[in-house]
Symmetry: C2
Subunit: 191 residues, 2 copies
């Protein structure tokens, strides 16, 4: 019943000790649609693993506008890296977009876990490498594409998400307004 362990074992077979410790530091949480996991007040340093459902990490500007940094579904990690690994704190909100099951892991506990089981580092590293590649791609997309192209690329790559996510949030991920997205969608459907 522990999706986190199942997921990790795709990359590394875990000893009983590791499993036990992992269970100890991870708290399962079931989330309602719209429920917040992370907000400004609770500037907890945690990482979140998604066992089922769909989550979103976003930033709010002073004038109240959302900007989505990341969506995450089953077997994805979602966390506020800016808070975790720089001096700034809690710039991101993380909310659930549906019924979700997640595992919460305190960064401090994770660090201990890593140093107790250094063989775990390699899995982590590979995950991070891919993540960096993904982010570089996203930056390229933001720099080079038009609103229409961004959306087309999004529905190609994020097929899984499409149904789960309201359009205005997709817009905020692509860096365009909901109105523009709506027009783009209209244009695409007419062709």
């Amino acid at each position: 019943m522990d999706e986190l362990i199942e997921y990790i074992e795709e990359g590394l077979s875990l000893s009983e000790d590791m499993k036990r410790d992992l269970k100890e530091i991870s708290k399962v949480k079931h989330l309602e649609k719209g429920e917040m996991v992370l907000s400004e007040k609770s500037s907890r340093k945690i990482q979140i693993f998604v066992a089922s459902g769909c989550l979103r990490a976003y930033h709010k500007t002073e004038n109240g506008k959302d900007h989505t940094i990341q969506f995450a579904v089953k077997n994805w990690w979602i966390s506020d890296y800016i808070t975790l690994f720089t001096k700034q704190n809690s710039v991101l909100y993380i909310e659930s977009l549906s019924h979700s099951k997640v595992f919460l892991l305190e960064q401090a506990s994770l660090e201990k876990f890593y140093s107790k089981y250094p063989e775990f580092e390699v899995v982590l590293r590979k995950n991070l490498e891919k993540r960096v590649a993904t982010l570089q791609k996203r930056i390229l997309g933001l720099l080079t594409l038009t609103a229409k192209e961004k959306y087309q690329k999004f529905i190609e790559e994020y097929e899984v998400f499409e149904r789960l996510i309201p359009n205005y949030q997709i817009a905020s991920f692509l860096g365009i307004t909901p109105e523009s997205l709506s027009r783009v969608r209209k244009e695409i459907s007419h062709s």
Copy 2:
């Protein structure tokens, strides 16, 4: 004389064996201004460590426009993560913006090095974590800021670079045109 080893030892003290192996897999290269390290033809999988000087990684679109992914100075790594860690290959060019000294490390050799010295993984991981945070911040900036704000933030954060980098390359990093950057600079100087 080995800046790479010096740099790594800030985070982890190296055994003689590690040093020897590191030297074996890293090739020093001195670069002229304008010289390419990585281009489409040579789709080599390498990572680059900057010992001195300044480099730039960028992408070229079909219509010939540059889009800068990263600048790097002393003690930075610069690599094409998209080629290294996804199926796409060589989407980035990497060039030197000044006299530079760099270390080139084949990804394959690095992998071997990592598995021979797993204690090295932790350094790597921490580096990647910071990198992810930096990229997340950049995405936030691209999503939320105006041309002027982007430039102001850039000169704050990248003070070191300012003199080394021509303005049109800064523009291509910020996702604006050189003309717009010029107007922004004018506006700022008049206030």
